[in-house]
């Protein structure tokens, strides 16, 4: 998917810091940061995995639900599950 219109703005808090609607969203963000820093995947692989989510899942998911779905995809594909 990706590049679709009508999803509204990406949530951004003050000073460009991530804005979280719930604690689990912050944990998903932190999980992605740790896995990226440890070299499991890079930012482009994460974006690619978001775009490869099944269309129904992608369209029905919130911003950080998509991040979580992409992390699950990459952990599985790279054999860390």
């Amino acid at each position: 998917m990706g590049g679709q219109t009508g999803f509204g703005p990406v949530p951004v808090g003050e000073n460009g810091e991530p804005a979280f609607a719930a604690d689990w969203e912050a944990r998903v963000y932190a999980l992605a940061a740790v896995l990226r820093r440890r070299g499991l995947f890079n930012s482009d692989e994460l974006r690619d995995a978001i775009e490869r989510l099944p269309p129904g899942q992608y369209l029905g998911a919130s911003y950080y639900e998509r991040w979580l779905g992409a992390i699950e995809t990459l952990v599985d594909e790279k054999g860390l599950a």
Binding site: G3, N42, S43, D44, E45, R47, D48, E51
Partner: protein, 88 residues
């Protein structure tokens, strides 16, 4: 680095079957380079685990919203890698 600020460029009208950071809404459209952003790993390669991903110049390219969507008086500036662009 091929383009300088002020250069007019056209985004390639292609439909790659892999990840890219070339948004569909600018493909085939003409814009103006407003800044050269240095050299960065090409996301198309980096997303696929290419061992030696290409490193290319990246440009901020400004488009007229009316050109992209048929209306609007504002502009839209998109960061685009060298291989996404052609001379018009």
């Amino acid at each position: 680095m091929t383009y300088q600020p002020g250069a007019v460029v056209r985004v390639r009208n292609t439909d790659p079957d892999h990840h890219t950071r070339m948004p569909r809404y600018v493909r085939g459209h003409t814009g103006e380079v407003v800044a050269v952003l240095g050299s960065w790993v090409l996301p198309d390669d980096n997303a696929r685990g290419v061992a030696q991903p290409r490193v290319e110049a990246c440009y901020a390219v400004r488009f007229a919203a009316a050109d992209l969507w048929g209306s609007g008086t504002h502009t839209v500036t998109v960061d685009l890698w060298e291989s996404y662009l052609d001379q018009p």
